[in-house]
């Protein structure tokens, strides 16, 4: 169900961001510099010379690897590196301040309410256009007004809205496409939730059009090429300061886009850890009532734009020397153009689902935003950062809390996953192929004979029905898309075969009479992987063993 509350009723703290920006940056600089100076005073590897040298070394390596186009910048870093040995402590301190200021300025975002207003008006119909069946210009225009049916936003929306008024939201979606940040931004508008700030890869800012919107809608720049500690400190502290000051934020805990399409379980906890730190700082500052809420979300595509590239990357990574990527006749640009063309003429759809929020320690929260322990008692979250005599700074403790939070998030994602017909049919067909070939090893399956890729339609329908029944009976597996839940298995299979057969460059599966023929096993594997957390049906496991 979609809220009819206008977004302006939700608390849009980003609206005041520009006026606050310099103060936030100054606070970040004060903390990062102060921490490094204190650590340097203790000596050892934390000396300023070591910190500055780490920056110089990393920057020089990065620029040398970039092909020597930026020689002046490279020379500056070499010059600083050479000067380090002769600098006084005061000069090193000054250089540290300068660098922290420099990286802070590079990271910081912007928020323009006019751009936000424009995007709020334009984004929904634009996305609707993108995800609607468009056969002609007239249909395209009609699609602009029919977008709601193609994109669903559901889940614990009312709770998220209540929490946005009681504290700071940290939205943590799954990540499988470069379209995710646009999609989640749209979902927040549709759900009458406030906009969020988030760290986006600097590479996404190279396109001037995208960069304009991202920079003006609260995104800050994350340069993943900068791997030295000082830069990571700047990023984390900036995020911490934003959260402390009530700016709703978004992290993709999976890190980069999920290559396999398996629902993420191994989360990267770096920026997520700033949630605990920000709350601890709030408590230390005498404001334990300033709560933070971590809201899991899943982004569920019926068909994924970059599926072929992602699964190629995944198989190359997991298979190591067993699998070699063979490029086909399309260049990367050609593939993208082809995908977009297919997208515009094909029925796509997606569901963004918000789960119940957690506190920064992985506890559930009730409808009033109070933390609940595992037994359901209200618990004061500030007690987790207090020792016997008040708030205690303890990085190791906070890292463990973040690990607990990450575990709760990872547990919630399968539950909140929404299955489209494409993923369900892919699972059923893939299981049949494994039975035919007598192995579940994808690398062996890729070399399996063609006859193992044929599945009788009646078998596929029966398997699909069994899978849908299992998912319907077990909420921990996830949930069926409402359209799927309302159809019989044969109709769901038809819908899936249509999608899987026409969206990508090569048909993943096609129907030939009373048989289905798998044409692209890698992509079938990709779509099947969304159900990876659902254990194999005992019948399938037994049959595979028997053939093997």
């Amino acid at each position: 169900m979609v809220s009819d509350r206008p977004v302006r009723e939700a608390v849009n703290r980003l609206a005041g961001f520009n006026a606050d920006r310099d103060r936030l940056l100054a606070e970040m600089e004060r903390r990062v510099v102060g921490r490094h100076l204190a650590a340097a005073a203790r000596g050892g590897d934390a000396s300023l010379e070591y910190v500055l040298n780490d920056v110089c070394y990393s920057e020089i390596r990065r620029l040398e690897a970039s092909g020597g186009k930026r020689t002046r910048e490279l020379e500056r870093w070499r010059e600083l590196s050479g000067r380090l040995l002769h600098m006084s402590e005061e000069e090193k301190r000054e250089e540290l301040r300068r660098l922290v200021h420099h990286y802070g300025r590079d990271v910081v975002g912007n928020f323009d309410p006019r751009v936000f207003g424009f995007a709020s008006e334009v984004l929904p119909p634009a996305l609707g256009f993108l995800f609607s069946p468009v056969g002609s210009l007239r249909e395209g225009v009609a699609a602009l007004t029919r977008f709601e049916g193609q994109v669903r936003v559901d889940g614990e929306l009312e709770l998220a809205r209540r929490l946005a008024e009681r504290g700071t939201l940290v939205v943590t979606p799954t990540h499988s496409s470069n379209m995710d940040s646009v999609v989640i931004g749209y979902a927040l508008i549709r759900a009458a939730l406030p906009p969020v700030t988030y760290g986006a890869g600097k590479n996404l800012f190279t396109n001037p059009f995208i960069s304009f919107f991202m920079r003006n809608l609260g995104a800050y720049r994350v340069d993943r090429r900068l791997r030295f500690e000082l830069y990571k400190d700047v990023l984390k502290e900036y995020s911490t300061v934003l959260l402390e000051n009530g700016y709703h934020s978004l992290f993709f805990p999976g890190g980069t886009r999920c290559r396999s399409n398996i629902v993420e379980s191994h989360l990267k906890l770096g920026l997520l850890g700033t949630t605990v730190t920000a709350f601890k700082n709030n408590v230390a500052a005498g404001a334990p009532h300033r709560r933070l809420y971590v809201v899991p979300a899943t982004i569920n595509y019926r068909l994924t734009l970059e599926a072929a590239t992602l699964i190629d990357d995944y198989l190359a990574e997991t298979g190591r020397n067993r699998y070699i990527i063979i490029d086909d006749e399309f260049s990367r640009l050609g593939r993208i153009v082809e995908f977009v063309r297919k997208l515009l003429v094909h029925e796509g759809s997606l569901v963004i689902r918000f789960g119940r929020a957690f506190d920064p320690f992985g506890n559930d929260v009730d409808d009033d935003g109070e933390s609940l322990d595992r037994a359901g008692r209200v618990v004061d979250p500030a007690s987790y950062v207090r020792g016997a005599d008040g708030v205690v700074d303890d990085e190791q403790r906070d890292a463990e809390y973040t690990r607990l939070l990450g575990r709760r998030l990872a547990e919630s994602y399968p539950r909140e996953t929404v299955f489209h017909s494409t993923q369900l049919a892919a699972r059923s067909l893939y299981d049949r192929v494994t039975r035919n070939a007598g192995t579940r090893d994808i690398y062996r399956l890729l070399r399996a004979p063609a006859e193992t890729m044929m599945v009788p339609v009646t078998d596929a329908v029966a398997d699909l029905q069994a899978l849908m029944t299992r998912i319907g009976a077990e909420p921990a597996f996830g949930r069926l898309h409402p359209q799927v839940a309302g159809q019989d298995a044969a109709s769901v299979l038809d819908d899936a075969v249509h999608g899987l057969g026409t969206y990508h460059t090569h048909p993943i599966v096609e129907r030939h009479g009373d048989r289905l023929v798998v044409g692209d096993l890698k992509l079938l594997f990709y779509y099947r992987n969304r159900t990876h957390h659902i254990p194999a049906d005992a019948r399938v496991a037994t049959a595979v063993e028997a053939v093997a």
Binding site: D373, R374, A375, Y384, A388, D389, V392, D394, Q396, R403
Partner: protein, 331 residues
């Protein structure tokens, strides 16, 4: 009590033999201890006579206070040691959960799985209380030795360094008790639980008259299969070779041992089949460990054999053959 003394006070849940012995050691080191018992007689005896009917020889000097009020325990101490039987852990953790908050550090001293089932006790504490900073205390410290002031060592394990460091600070009482630290909570908990099962196996084997060679094989195979289970459960396989695993096993199977697990093993070896009500922590650990091993697909012939003997599915001789017939592969 002031905030400062709350930081320096040890709270102990359960005035059984181990809880009382630990309270005695800590109190003798001059640190305040609050011991929570549900038994009015025990509380009265400690408060009025400075002795416990459960461990009469243990000195219980005044820094030790016994109480029936759990709120008194929670308000007085930040570090709380849960020293109850595995059959009571779920109920006592629930009661404790009503009075503590997230600032408490909870360490359990239960060398067993939480009965019934194969849950680790730290998971039960996490489910039943607001505490997240949780640890486990284990090792070859016998209550009578501790009460008599003899040398004993234990290990405290937690993923939170704060828990291990605070537990060590407050429980270390050399020369009587030395407490080591570990970050391997899973490994220490499983090792402590399985040590009871293997003590029972050795008790059974000894009464059946096995020689020193096969006995040594049994001990080393126990170490190998326990380490496999610890690893599969996400712990450090080396943990079983430490105080919680091997240490516990050796102390319970030493010559003249009166450890309950070992004695139960003796009875099994003589062909008796004790009713479930007579089972020890080690017996329950054998059955729970066998279930956990099946779930994690870990081969554990010794634990599986002991579980089969306890449930009557196998005779002691058949269980011994099962262990002996294990295919020898690379060690």
């Amino acid at each position: 009590m002031t905030a400062a003394s709350r930081a320096d006070t040890v709270g102990i849940v359960g005035a059984g033999r181990f809880g009382t012995a630990l309270a005695s050691v800590v109190a003798r080191a001059g640190r305040p201890v609050v011991l929570w018992s549900r038994d009015a007689n025990v509380v009265a005896s400690i408060q009025n006579e400075r002795r416990s009917p459960r461990l009469p020889d243990a000195p219980l000097p005044p820094p030790l206070e016994a109480t029936r009020d759990p709120r008194r325990l929670a308000a007085s101490a930040r570090l709380i040691v849960l020293a109850v039987a595995s059959t009571d852990i779920r109920q006592r953790a629930r009661e404790l959960g009503e009075v503590i908050d997230g600032s408490h550090l909870v360490v359990h001293a239960i060398g067993a799985f939480a009965a019934p089932g194969e849950d680790r006790c730290s998971d039960v504490v996490a489910e039943a209380t607001p505490a997240l900073r949780i640890g486990a205390l284990a090792g070859p410290a016998l209550p009578l030795d501790m009460a008599a002031g003899q040398f004993a060592s234990m290990v405290v394990a937690s993923r939170f360094t704060e828990v291990t460091s605070e537990a060590r600070r407050l429980l270390n009482a050399p020369p009587v008790l030395r407490v080591y630290g570990s970050g391997d909570l899973v490994g220490v908990e499983l090792s402590a639980a399985l040590a009871g099962a293997y003590s029972m196996a050795l008790g059974m084997a000894d009464v059946m008259g096995i020689g020193p060679g096969p006995r040594a094989v049994l001990v080393t195979r126990a170490l190998a299969e326990a380490s496999r289970l610890v690893h599969a459960a996400g712990g450090d396989p080396r943990s079983f070779a430490g105080l919680a695993g091997l240490g516990n096993m050796l102390v319970r199977t030493s010559p003249g041992s009166q450890a309950r697990d070992y004695l139960l093993g003796n009875r099994l070896g003589k062909g008796e089949r004790p009713a479930e009500g007579e089972w020890t922590e080690g017996a329950r650990a054998a059955v729970a460990g066998a279930r956990l091993a099946r779930r994690l697909a870990v081969r554990m012939p010794l634990v599986a054999g002991m579980a089969a003997v306890l449930t009557g599915a196998m005779s002691p001789r058949e269980a011994a053959n099962l262990a002996a017939d294990t295919v020898a592969a690379e060690e």
